[in-house]
Subunit: 127 residues, 2 copies
DNA sequence: GGTTTTTGTATGATGTATAAGTACATTAAA
DNA sequence: TTTAATGTACTTATACATCATACAAAAACC
């Protein structure tokens, strides 16, 4: 039993397959999984997360479509060396607004501003 | 025709009612809409956004449930003075991870790290 | 005071998305 | 050559999102 490099706990309100993809993408962006490594088989990860393996497969397909993974039968999900695409214009446009929406959600939920600010700066410094 | 204080443009992949609620919440958190003011009637905003008015009504109900709005027939959506709740534990727990997921999404989409970092600090400073 | 109009609400229909069940295809390993 | 491990394809059940329509309340108007 490997350490849970992939800790994925589902919250309600967002489709499981997307939450799984989001979590894995964060791991890939962080570089914790390097090109040449493999993700666990869909059935294994599905068991850990507690969903049907098709749900994990859907998440894998999202990441494969983004260029993170190569999926091949019997060989599993291979992490690729991915070159980030040119930023699409619409992404760049909506990015500030979306960030503010996310932060607003946390403020509305009662997260102290100081905590939010600290976390934002922490992530910024990590870049 | 008032200036579009409420610019809401929908992107695919997230339910419209939630996007509308998210956008409005950000406006409310920012304080651009003060207690005592009114949101536009559901039918009017629905026309601007391009959805059915029930979809807007659903967004209003979300915000009303969070304590932002008082909805009363014929009187529209009144903005309330809202005291933020105590931060729920689970929110505080998942917040850092979710922030990183969101940032990872933007990095994966090709947003330059410098741009992301600048925006993060900008929001942090605004708190 | 009665009527009209403007608002939010409730209910039901319909299409889409999500997740699971099951069978299949491929290929590495034995 | 067989077997087992893996992703894929197809189907079905259910939940969700959106809209259409009818309703209810209350303000505005005469």
């Amino acid at each position: 039993m490997s350490a849970p490099l992939l800790r994925i706990d589902l919250r309600p309100g967002t489709p499981a397959y997307r939450q799984i993809a989001d979590t894995l993408r964060a791991v890939l962006v962080a570089g914790s999984l390097r090109p040449g490594e493999h993700l666990p088989p869909v059935r294994q990860l599905a068991l850990e997360v507690g969903v049907h393996f098709n749900t994990v497969a859907e998440a894998y397909r999202i990441l494969a479509a983004e260029g993170w993974l190569a999926l091949r039968r019997r060989r599993g999900a291979l992490v690729l060396a991915r070159r980030p695409p040119e930023a699409a214009v619409d992404v760049a446009e909506t990015f500030p607004r979306r960030l503010r929406e996310v932060v607003a959600e946390w403020r509305a939920a009662g997260m102290p501003q100081a905590v939010i600010a600290r976390e934002l700066r922490s992530v910024a410094d990590g870049l």
